[in-house]
Symmetry: C2
Subunit: 143 residues, 2 copies
DNA sequence: CCTTGCTCCTATAGTTACTTTAGCATGTAT
DNA sequence: ATACATGCTAAAGTAACTATAGGAGCAAGG
């Protein structure tokens, strides 16, 4: 087999733009590869898998630094799982907060659209909702 | 009353860094304010509300351009609803998409975390899950 | 044989939404 | 009087790309 891929193949197969792949190489998230006689990058299935991993992490909202950490864990499987778990848990909390806030916003938007029938937006609740800091994290505000 | 705030007060009350507030002024998302004799910015409750609004929008994942649009609603409350109904609907769609994406993300994170039960990374399913491209969007991969 | 078109290359600049740093002025407390 | 906190401006740095400029290699069509 020893299937090989050009950069365009990887781009297509992972839904990544070509300059992004080159960028990942530059910042050492993807390794430097062998080059063909014409100087083009040559990739293997290993590279395809690594890029898939990276993109999946990015889609899930992990930062490239977190991805670097996760890639490091993957390379040293004897380590404790706790760190990986921690990254994931922190991230989950963040996501849950955002879902909760967006759900409230959605119902307000729904209501606003239904209420706004020929009037002015002076009575629209959206501005109020978005300005309502009871939905926000507490910043120690004790006015 | 006529409560006034210095930039540091606004920062504390909204959880925004001071340079960020000045940045918002520079890009005209926050207005230029009056200055005290010593050249310091003077804010009122109006400004506090506007900044709270902006930060809430940002927390919810709206871009600054979208925030500008939403502020447009707030700044012209006498406008006809018909003129902005479309924008509102787009925002709703946007919010619905974000909720959907985040919900998928949440269930994946849940699953990842539940499959990790201490021990070493060798058995940690988080890494496996992240590498599993069957969970990814299809990019037309027909290998 | 030459041109068109596709994919690739490097290098550089632009984007968004901030954050950090440098250097200095002013206001408050001891 | 002297720390120390708070504010000012201007400029550079950060993350994670995205876009643009300019050029090379190679296959197929006229």
């Amino acid at each position: 087999m020893a299937e090989i891929f050009m950069i365009g193949d990887l781009a297509r197969l992972t839904g990544t733009k070509i300059p992004t792949i080159r960028y990942y190489e530059e910042i050492n998230v993807m390794p430097r590869t062998e080059r063909a006689a014409n100087n083009r990058r040559i990739y293997t299935k290993k590279h395809l898998e690594r890029l898939t991993f990276i993109r999946h992490c990015r889609d899930l909202g992990f930062s490239l630094n977190e991805v670097r950490a996760l890639l490091g864990f993957a390379d040293h499987p004897a380590q404790s799982c706790a760190k990986v778990d921690n990254i994931a848990r922190n991230h989950l909390q963040d996501v849950e907060q955002k879902i909760a806030a967006l759900s409230i916003l959605k119902s307000e938007l729904d209501r606003m659209i239904n209420q706004c029938e020929g009037g002015t937006i002076a009575k629209c609740r959206i501005i109020e909702v978005l300005a309502d800091h009871s939905l926000c994290k507490d910043h120690g505000n004790n006015l």
